[in-house]
Symmetry: C2
Subunit: 193 residues, 2 copies
Amino acid sequence: MAARTTSTGASAARERLLQTASELFYREGIHAVGVDRIIAEAGVTRATFYRHFPSKEDLVEAYLGVEDANIRGAFDAAEASGAEPGQLVGLVIEGLADDVARHHTRGCPFINAAAEYPDPESGVRRAVAEHREWFRSELEKVLGAAEADDPGATAGQLVLLRDAAMVGGYLDGWERVRPSFIAAATRTAGLDR
Amino acid sequence: MAARTTSTGASAARERLLQTASELFYREGIHAVGVDRIIAEAGVTRATFYRHFPSKEDLVEAYLGVEDANIRGAFDAAEASGAEPGQLVGLVIEGLADDVARHHTRGCPFINAAAEYPDPESGVRRAVAEHREWFRSELEKVLGAAEADDPGATAGQLVLLRDAAMVGGYLDGWERVRPSFIAAATRTAGLDR
DNA sequence: AAAGAGATAGAACGATCGTTCTACTTCACA
DNA sequence: TGTGAAGTAGAACGATCGTTCTATCTCTTT
């Protein structure tokens, strides 16, 4: 058995590796999960691991890439749903709330990763910075289309609120944080008028 | 040379150990800093380390205890300053902003620690939960004295805003986040009326 | 004067870290 | 048909992890 079995062109072993690592990194932290754990749970050999990822840090960056792609996909889906710009802002807020409730119950993958990588020049921190900048500008775009006043400032505040929601949802429980998040986000976005 | 040299009754070696570890843990992350690093930079022997801290995790908990005590001290100072309850809320917000700008430029010690400790039953996570609960109730007390409406809900929202400020200050730069934080916090606390 | 706690110094424990290596097999494609 | 990439299997590298140990010295307290 070997090689490219998936439709995307990526090898099956690589995808299993990436998915297993993503779950472990998110649930237990990055430094806390060793290469041995990952290859054992992915059912793959060390040699196969290093064939696809030159080092563990490359795998970490790929993990953040998966998280980034997931969120971009959610945005694309929302925009492709044919909702009007005015509605879209509300959909985004609801989507973020739903994401924290369902998938990201251990906090934000990017915030958590940054906690473990102090060097701003590292590949991991670059990935975090790029993701945050994309997210901010995407919000600004949506807000601009909905003709909100000062989309730039509002987008910045919504980024902060999402950070707060993910951290608070993890440490205090989402049911305690959700009302505050919804109220603050809708008011910030100007949806309460 | 030996033993208790400080006025507080704690040994000098223990205090050097704790201060050194606190700086390293905060700046570089907990799992990333080994015991060897700590004892080397503290100028202390392994045996001395384990005399004062049964395990590394005890040192981690002591580190969070130091951070907790610092913030409690700041609150006590603000309350002892003789400011009126109405002013106190504003002082607290300014104090938080000042803290992020000066001391906590690598994020929140408790949020960062929680990112590395997934088990909610662990001593570290318990310390995080206790600190957050104290902070929330302290805010509620101050807001209640200032006769804000719904001190409970407002305190919860201010906790979220502080989380956002510390995360955003670390990852996006405090100068970008500060205006949003000040605006949102003063409005949430009802100081803009 | 005796006792004990706190410090120093340094060797050593087994376990795990991330990484590299050789040897052999299997499949896709030119 | 043969070349090469992708897979399995497993030994081994040096480094570091957190922890334990013995041995000796110093100071404070009784």
